[in-house]
């Protein structure tokens, strides 16, 4: 007899993996004897608990906002739908924000999915490739014509988003810092930028124009076209100030000057 019931290793593992998440009575005959043993719960509990623990570690602001009990219940529903695909559990939860956006019990917290996106941004920024930072002084004295045609390349650790419907960034920041928001929160759209200058993840609020400017840079557009995108978002934007703010935050790693303009 092989594999508990004459089954191959692959069939055994299929049945065992399925039983970890299935109702106890629904086990494949290849593992029914194992699932019936009380000790099977050790595996079932460890797998589920490790997944939920990982999500809780990866989404600290969401956890603080909704409380541990609510979070773990939501995480449990997510685990049932989406297993980790890599053993690096800091990568687990890539779709958790999208899950929360459609999660009926979270309907009263419309900003929750965006707070989850920001927690996720923090992890992505923390583990992103190393690259030099472009500092503002390297642009001083640059020919304005050359600069307009050049491309600002976002730093691999830079993450940003514009949240049009809610102050998701302020909510995230206050919960991330474990601070209680001081005073009344102004209910308006906000942008967020996370960067990693000096090896520590930092964050700052940015306006809609700055977000569109970054989007254009990430798409490989020239500074001139990125300025147009910023002004499209907000006709009153001050592009020079936007560029200075973003450089100061560490959003860029280099300036690429197309060959035909550098001559």
């Amino acid at each position: 007899m092989r594999g508990g019931a004459g089954t191959s290793l692959a069939s055994f593992e299929d049945a065992f993996a399925h039983a970890l998440f299935a109702a106890p009575g629904a086990a494949d005959p290849a593992v029914a004897d194992l699932v019936a043993q009380p000790a099977f719960a050790v595996y079932r509990n460890t797998v589920t608990k490790s997944c939920i623990d990982a999500l809780q570690a990866n989404f600290p602001a969401v956890t603080r906002l909704v409380g541990e009990e609510w979070f773990r219940a939501a995480a449990s529903a997510y685990v049932a739908r989406e297993r980790p695909t890599t053993p690096s559990l800091q990568a687990y939860g890539a779709t958790f924000a999208a899950f929360l956006a459609d999660f009926a019990p979270a309907a009263e917290l419309p900003y929750l999915a965006d707070v989850a996106r920001l927690d996720r941004f923090w992890i992505e920024s923390h583990g992103a490739l190393d690259a030099p930072l472009l500092d503002a002084t390297s642009l001083v004295g640059a020919d304005p014509g050359v600069l307009a045609g050049a491309i600002l390349v976002p730093h691999p650790a830079a993450r940003w988003a514009w949240f049009s419907d809610s102050p998701a960034y302020s909510i995230w920041r206050d919960n991330r810092a474990r601070e209680t928001a001081g005073g009344e929160l102004a209910w308006r759209g906000e942008g967020a930028l996370l960067t990693r200058p000096g090896d520590v993840v930092e964050w700052t609020g940015i306006d809609h124009a700055a977000c569109r400017f970054l989007d254009a840079c990430a798409a490989g557009r020239s500074v001139e076209l990125a300025v147009d995108a910023a002004l499209d978002a907000d006709a009153d934007a001050d592009p020079a100030r936007t560029i200075a703010t973003l450089l100061d935050a560490g959003a860029y790693s280099r300036l690429v000057v197309p060959i035909d303009q550098s001559a």
Binding site: F12, S88, Q90
Partner: protein, 279 residues
């Protein structure tokens, strides 16, 4: 280098500064490489900084050697990069599976020790050792279930892996204690018969009683200090096979660093006279 290692500790982010500064003789640290498989950033620099002062052992939890599939190429490639970066004193993995058909199950799952499983695991260890450019140590698992259909007892199975792949073994004494309790065999006899020459590393950890089943089911929970019966088995083992790098494993309910260091000192004190004798 291995001869200078005595007892080590798992590296926990909460204890990072104390770990970095700790001057204890023979101290080394063990990490799960999966926690450091990032593209860049401060996490890798923490590890680099520890590595500058202390030897590091990589203890993988996710190669899934007992899965009926070859280890993922990309995972092996990233592990190799980490091995080249860290130059670990030891690399180890488990006799278990976790990744299966694209999903990672964060646990060490059991399997029937069949001839088919043996052939597959031999191939997988070969693949891992080739990709990493070095031999690895394979850890004996904790058992909870009475699993039918084995063609092999555990010890001859481990022996055969050593014979066919040249791998070493990592003897986790707590796993033996827990498994002996749960499956009803004699832990001391297992430790006595274990192939000592192949042992590259020893693990010591705490366990807990299952909340529902109590003493009938011990769980390898790594959330308590090492128990006295496990220390007794360990001392017998070292007396028989000689000193080996020994890890105090603690992953949950972390005490202050000083408390772990005191536990580590007990293993260190057991190893020092054995080293003098072996020298």
């Amino acid at each position: 280098m291995i001869s200078t290692l005595t007892a080590g500790l798992g590296l926990k982010p909460q204890h990072y500064d104390e770990a970095l500064a700790c001057p204890a003789a023979g101290l080394w640290f063990e990490v799960h490489p999966e926690n450091y498989l990032v593209d860049g950033g401060p996490r890798l620099r923490w590890l680099d900084a520890i590595r500058e002062r202390h030897p590091i052992s990589l203890h993988g939890v996710a190669l899934s050697l007992a899965a009926d599939a070859a280890p993922e190429r990309e995972h092996l490639r990233r592990l190799r990069r980490m091995v080249d970066r860290i130059e670990p004193v030891l690399v180890s993995e488990h006799l278990a599976w976790s990744t299966w058909r694209g999903a990672y199950h964060p646990d060490l799952l059991p399997f029937p020790r069949t001839n088919e499983a043996l052939a597959r695991i031999v191939d997988n260890i070969d693949a891992a050792q080739t990709a990493l450019g070095r031999n690895i140590a394979i850890e004996n698992p904790s058992h909870y279930l009475r699993l039918e259909g084995h063609d092999w007892d555990e010890m001859p199975f481990l022996d055969e892996l050593v014979r066919r792949t040249g791998c070493g073994l990592l003897l986790d004494v707590n796993n033996v204690h827990v498994s002996a309790n749960n499956l009803g065999f004699e832990a001391a006899a297992y430790i006595e018969a274990f192939p000592g020459a192949a042992v590259m590393e020893i693990h010591l950890a705490g366990h807990s009683r299952d909340p529902a089943l109590g003493d009938a089911l011990l769980v390898d929970s790594h959330d308590a200090s090492v128990s006295e019966p496990v220390w007794a088995l360990y001392e017998r083992l070292v007396a028989r096979i000689g000193p080996r790098p020994t890890l105090i494993e603690r992953d949950d309910r972390l005490p202050p660093f000083g408390e772990l260091l005191a536990e580590r000192e007990r293993a260190h004190q057991a190893l020092v006279p054995a080293m003098a004798k072996a020298a």
